[in-house]
């Protein structure tokens, strides 16, 4: 339980437009293997901004970020892309699937990019992930033929395809109705408990947060409780 998957060390973040504002102040915390952590806080307190930094997409910050003990600070764009591909699964509030590809292909793409296994095997594996999420029957449809809840499940399957160290979500249930939110939460819970998957999920749904292992509470760019 002590193996640190991701660690933020004194992260500060400024926005300069229209005037310089410090939106993240000395953020330090870590997530361990198999932990299901939620981040909560009022709208505008900097949760998304933090998550973009943690997911290596935003590199303009002070402080350091360790993923599996390795600093991300000095890495180049291509190397960070590789880290995202291999070690991080991201689930957005909006579903963000590629409508040019089938559901199955959407799930497979990060696996194909990683290229560690033959295509057939990746396809088989993608089917398995879809099965875990209960949507294998939709595999050959195009994403725009699915409902919101189904799309979000496809996005989760995609996040899982490379067996990432951690899954991050930015209000993944924010756009779903009660029933679908419940399903998605249960999936996360199951991943954490049965597959020992680490999760870091931003939410402002308190009911959701209360049922996770640990809550990190933010206010005005600072962590006030963890």
């Amino acid at each position: 339980m002590n193996e640190k998957i991701i660690e933020a060390i004194g992260i500060n973040k400024y926005f300069h437009d229209p005037k310089t504002v410090k939106v993240l102040k000395e953020i330090s915390f870590s997530v361990c293997k198999g932990e299901f952590v939620s981040i909560t806080g009022k709208s505008g307190c900097g949760k998304s901004t933090l998550l973009y930094i943690l997911s290596t997409m935003d590199t303009d910050y002070e402080g350091d970020l360790l993923i599996h003990g390795v600093s991300m600070k000095k890495k180049r764009e291509g190397e960070l892309a590789k880290v995202r591909n291999e070690k991080i699964g991201f689930v957005f509030q909006f579903h963000y699937l590629l409508n040019e590809f089938s559901v199955l292909k959407n799930v497979m793409l990060p696996g194909l990019k990683l290229g560690k296994r033959p295509e057939k095997e990746i396809e088989h594996y993608a089917y398995e992930k879809l099965k875990i999420l209960g949507i294998e029957s939709e595999a050959l449809k195009k994403p725009n033929q699915l409902s919101g809840g189904q799309k979000q499940r496809v996005a989760i399957a995609r996040a899982l395809i490379n067996n990432p160290l951690i899954i991050m979500g930015d209000e993944p249930t924010g756009n779903l109705d009660k029933k679908n939110s419940e399903t998605v939460f249960n999936i996360f819970k199951e991943l954490a408990e049965e597959y020992n998957q680490s999760l870091l999920i931003v939410t402002h749904d308190n009911e959701f947060a209360d049922r996770t292992d640990r809550i990190i509470e933010m206010e005005d760019g600072k962590i006030i409780n963890q």
């Binding site: 291509g78 892309a81 963000y96």
Partner: protein, 419 residues
């Protein structure tokens, strides 16, 4: 594996917008088609016009020019050697146009293996006597067979048989325009007077049409023997030796050599027709300029469509990047899209270009001036296809370069946050 994935993604993005991409490809196809068509036609036309001159112009012509002696007696005097000598009103001495020793010169030339063929010629001024009027003209006394071999003489004999000139004694082939002026039909006998006043009856055995009206008004052809007879000269009398070389490019240099060797005037084809080469050059330049402009315009079309596509696919690019595709991968995807538009459009363009050329080649083109031509001329030169193909790929690459770079620089955070 990785290239396969890139191609796979490019193809999907391309097919999702196949109408737009088709329009871009059609733009390339159109411009390559026009490029090929235009250059093949222009180049065909150039060859034709050049042929008009080059086929009938000796690569080197040896002749005697009547001119004042360069060495005046005073130049030979030792006493005035260090003086500036001014002599006014120098006149040429009474000299003949004849090339002395022509038989020996011809023999020497025949041994020179840079020479493709030789045709001796006599050019002489005459008057065609029509009733009480005399028309000025020029009779070319030719060796009928070598003239035909070197200068395609028979091509320009539009009526009558050229070989009759050799077989029928005292015969003449008249320039078509001259014949019309004289109302001389084939089989008629006309009378000519030489500059020295000698008269001779000649039988018309054909018409000659060069394509240049001014020439056809004055020039006629007779055999070399007939002309010698007309001038009252011996069978050695020749005024010009026309030479065709195996390699046209060495003409200027060889002309100088012969000039010194034989002590004759020698003029090469490049000097004699420099204005012609300029014309060809300008025409070629214009066709290339137009063709390449078309391609660049097509390039802008591709640029626009790619830009639109990237704008359209912002979300997809952001997802690809969020899930681990690097800027380089995204760049490769859009370059692949641009290049496939270029390659596909280019190949179609080359095929349509060939089709267009073949079509132009079928269009009837009959003109009095060019008796040997029946359809528009086309030059099927592989060079144009290579240039067109290479250029289409280069243009599309550059058209794709900037949009692709833009796509690779897209910051996924900005897009995702923008939702």
């Amino acid at each position: 594996m990785k290239t396969k994935l890139i191609i796979n993604i490019s193809r999907s993005l391309l097919l999702a917008r196949w109408k737009q991409t088709l329009v871009a490809a059609v733009g390339v196809t159109f411009s390559i088609t026009m490029f090929i068509g235009l250059l093949s036609f222009m180049s065909g036309l150039n060859d034709l016009l050049d042929g008009l001159i080059i086929n009938r112009t000796p690569h080197i012509r040896l002749y005697n020019e009547i001119q004042p002696s360069k060495n005046q007696p005073i130049d030979l005097s030792k006493k005035y050697k260090n003086h500036y000598n001014f002599i006014r009103s120098v006149k040429p001495k009474n000299e003949k146009l004849e090339i002395y020793n022509s038989a020996a010169i011809i023999k020497a030339l025949e041994k020179d293996d840079r020479v493709y063929g030789i045709a001796p010629k006599i050019t002489t001024q005459v008057f065609y006597n029509v009733g009480s009027i005399d028309l000025t003209g020029v009779i070319n006394g030719i060796d009928v067979e070598s003239e035909n071999k070197l200068f395609l003489f028979s091509d320009y004999v539009t009526e009558g048989n050229y070989i009759d000139l050799k077989n029928i004694p005292n015969s003449i082939i008249l320039g078509k325009a001259a014949a019309e002026k004289m109302l001389a039909n084939i089989g008629d006998v006309i009378q000519v007077t030489t500059a020295k006043g000698e008269r001779m009856q000649l039988k018309v055995v054909g018409y000659f049409q060069s394509g240049l009206q001014e020439i056809d008004k004055v020039q006629s052809y007779a055999s070399i023997n007939t002309t010698q007879k007309l001038l009252g000269e011996t069978s050695n009398y020749v005024t010009d030796i026309q030479i065709k070389l195996k390699d046209l490019l060495i003409a200027p240099q060889l002309a100088k050599e012969y000039q010194n060797l034989f002590d004759l005037e020698a003029i090469d084809i490049q000097t004699a027709n420099s204005q012609f080469e300029t014309g060809s050059f300008i025409r070629t330049l214009i066709s290339y300029a137009v063709g390449i402009t078309l391609l660049i315009v097509a390039g802008f079309g591709i640029y626009n469509i790619l830009n639109m596509m990237i704008y359209d696919k912002m979300d997809s690019i952001a997802i690809l990047k969020a899930t681990g595709f690097s800027g380089k991968d995204v760049n490769a995807i859009f370059i692949t899209i641009a290049s496939s538009i270029g390659v596909f459009g280019g190949i179609m363009g080359l095929m349509f270009g060939l089709g267009l050329s073949a079509l132009i080649d079928q269009v009837p083109f009959n003109t009095e001036a060019l008796p040997t031509i029946t359809t528009y001329p086309i030059n099927y030169n592989i060079k144009f296809y290579i240039i067109g193909g290479v250029f289409s790929i280069i243009t599309t690459y550059f058209a794709g370069y900037f949009p692709s770079r833009k796509a690779s620089k897209i910051d996924p955070v900005v897009i995702i946050r923008g939702k």
